[in-house]
Symmetry: C2
Subunit: 443 residues, 2 copies
């Protein structure tokens, strides 16, 4: 719907700005991928074959070749890169697109979290001459994603996913997870070093600086509409949304409190609209709620639910005193502000709401991470929906899978960047630990 | 590809700006439409059933309900409107979205002109209390589309499509057509008065101001990626693209002409980069082509093909004389400009290129419209790919269809707004004419 889409547009602008300014070029690839192309990389298709939607008919005719709705675009993009990229001189190459991707989910769907159509998926695909340059790109992508989530006040853990849970076709996957208010972890971004899996499968070769022909290296990374879901869930409260001023479609709502004679009402309305126009011309996004069939209390409630950072109340008393009441959405505090100092005060208050929401989210997040050497403690933490538990781990897959079973949770992976662990024993098997591993209930 | 997508982004920004500023709200609806929903409006589905792509499988399972890739979104949007809109107080309501739509074309496809996936389709959908208000909306939409095409320098004819060629489910369709360089007409935008077809089919009712419940009225209108195709085809020439400065991803390319000693080369490079930076800081979009493995001639050719409006050549002579050579893409003229007056001159030249390209397109367009009372003359005009012919018409469908057959062309419709025709006879049957009708070869 429109209001939600405006929030999404603000987030898309932020993502575009950060990708454009780091040399990523926006492109647009077809939705439909012919079956043969999707199946070229065998590990990749094994990872996706249960979840691909197939188009089989055009009009009343059956198609000669089945067409997949893209579950992701590595195959179609690599296919075109074989025509477009011939030389190391063109590298590194960084493409991105913002499109819908499709998964035939058999689990229950949830708005913006688990969907069959993942809308405005921001997927980046890069090509490099060497393994090392692709690894450098993984770091760049992580830095970009940090900035995106920092600007949106969404706290995160960065984990290297265990091998059994990496992207189908990747050498390794680095993932961003946040913790939702119900204590479950939510994957909000992933970065994959693809190695040469796809360039080999498509026999995509370039001329290297040393004049040899070789398969180049790739990375890919993506953020879905979950970023919208987290911004809503993490900053909101029982009254509804609480939006960061930086992405709020309406930063300030002005509510005229109409009472007394019709002349007095008119006076208040004129003052309210005047204030709104002044604030607009200072660059703020402002609405005036002058609906005459709603009472002020209902309007307060309505705009609080929509998460508008500041509410300005203008009544007869305010018109006469030269002061207005300003209420902030995050703390629900109300303060008196002189109208002649309104712009400065509003600017200060908006900054304070922005910082306040981000700080609150960070504090909440910190309290949700438990580090312990005992698996039963970790299990209790996770089971009671407190958040993420970190325990020492020997690094063996079978031990990891058994941990997941015993704790009835999922392994998010090990902390990234890698943290050296010395003198600790695996919380499950007692063998020397090589890393902490993160356990959580997930979406 | 990236360069093309930047042109598209500039056009999308323009469309969004004009729709947003006239109270249209951006939304995002699902791609997949269940068969039952698509088939609710019987005329609509009859118009589309040969061209709909069907998703029949998810993973390895057959779906219970077939899902259509949206050929357009009237059905899914009207379905949701029944939940969202209850009262005249919410009207008029204007939604739009920018998405891919799909048609299983059996005719030969052409890039950006006839595609199975029509990308970044800008479709608007509006709801109104009365027939008249919907008609007023048709006028508003036409004004918006005029502005879009005027700003892009794309000339157009506005026609009321004949009844046999209107949108499936509409009361009537107003269409924008341009004429491509090969003399064929290309539909570039359509506006439909939908009447109550869809609101009846979905039993969508609102409370009117007079408290009665009734089906509201709708319009819809759309512009496809053909707008990109026309901008490229109409302004381009045998050397390639010629882009309007307002939408050119690169407005100015600076080309250092390297010769002499390496010290002299360095001097020229520094000067070229300095000029580019100065122009950038004045707000122009500038590239420097400092590739050392390409010759100046090859670079000229490359950037001409990309349609960059201005090229600045910087050589040793220029560095010493304090003047540079500026070449414009539209007329290919070259002028000397003093470096200390560069910003002003470049601004003036860009405006001149913008106006020049638009004027040239308008002049070409005017020469492509022939008004005649003789059908054979009209036929010759169209057959020799000169453009559009207008002949008097009695208004009868059978006579129109026979005209199409005899002239071997398509009827675009009658001029909009309606032009009163008196004392003329139908070019085919001789009966009194009610309007001119436009005939053309089409894409």
């Amino acid at each position: 719907m429109p209001y939600g889409f405006q929030i999404r547009r603000a987030i898309l602008d932020l993502v575009r700005r950060l990708l454009d300014s780091t040399g990523h070029e926006e492109v647009l690839f077809p939705l439909l991928i012919p079956e043969g192309l999707l199946k070229k990389e065998s590990e990749h298709i094994r990872g996706f074959e249960d979840e691909v939607y197939w188009v089989t008919h055009g009009g009343l005719e059956e198609l000669d070749v089945k067409l997949a709705l893209r579950p992701t675009s590595e195959t179609s993009i690599t296919f075109m890169e074989t025509f477009w990229i011939k030389s190391y001189r063109q590298l590194p190459k960084k493409y991105y697109q913002i499109v819908s991707i499709f998964r035939y989910e058999t689990k229950a769907t949830r708005p913006m979290i688990r969907l069959r159509e993942v809308t405005t998926f921001k997927e980046a695909h890069t090509v490099h001459e060497t393994f090392e340059d692709a690894e450098r790109q993984v770091l760049e992508a992580i830095e970009i994603y940090k900035k995106i989530f920092d600007e949106l006040g969404v706290p995160y853990l960065i984990s290297r996913r265990p091998d059994w849970d990496k992207f189908a076709g990747a050498l390794y996957t680095i993932a961003f997870d946040t913790v939702m208010p119900d204590g479950r972890a939510l994957q909000i971004g992933t970065v994959h070093h693809l190695g040469q899996s796809f360039t080999r499968a498509f026999d995509f070769k370039i001329q290297r600086a040393d004049e040899k022909l070789d398969h180049p290296w790739q990375t890919s990374y993506g953020i879905s509409d979950r970023v919208v879901a987290t911004v809503i869930s993490i900053h909101g409260d029982d009254r509804g949304l609480a939006l960061l001023p930086s992405i709020a479609p309406v930063q300030i709502v002005v509510i005229p409190i109409l009472s007394g004679s019709s002349e007095e009402k008119e006076k208040v309305l004129i003052e309210a609209r005047g204030i709104a126009n002044r604030l607009r011309s200072s660059g703020f996004r402002v609405s005036v709620d002058d609906r005459d069939w709603e009472r002020p209390g209902a309007k307060f409630y309505y705009w609080e639910a929509k998460g508008v950072p500041l509410r300005i109340e203008v009544g007869l008393r305010e018109v006469e005193s030269g002061e207005v009441t300003v209420a902030r959405r995050d703390t629900l505090e109300r303060v008196q502000v002189r109208v002649d100092r309104l712009e400065d005060e509003v600017r200060r208050l908006l900054e304070s709401v922005e910082d306040g929401l981000k700080e609150r989210a960070k504090d909440d997040f910190r309290a949700r991470i438990l580090r312990t050497s005992r698996l039963d403690e970790a299990g209790e933490w996770v089971e009671s929906r407190k958040g993420v538990a970190e325990v020492p781990w020997c690094g063996r897959e079978d031990c990891g899978l058994k941990m997941e079973e015993e704790v009835n949770a999922k392994i998010l992976g090990t902390p990234w960047p890698h943290e050296v662990v010395e003198g600790l024993s695996c919380a499950r098997c007692g063998a020397p630990a090589v890393a902490y591993v993160r356990l959580a209930k997930t979406y």
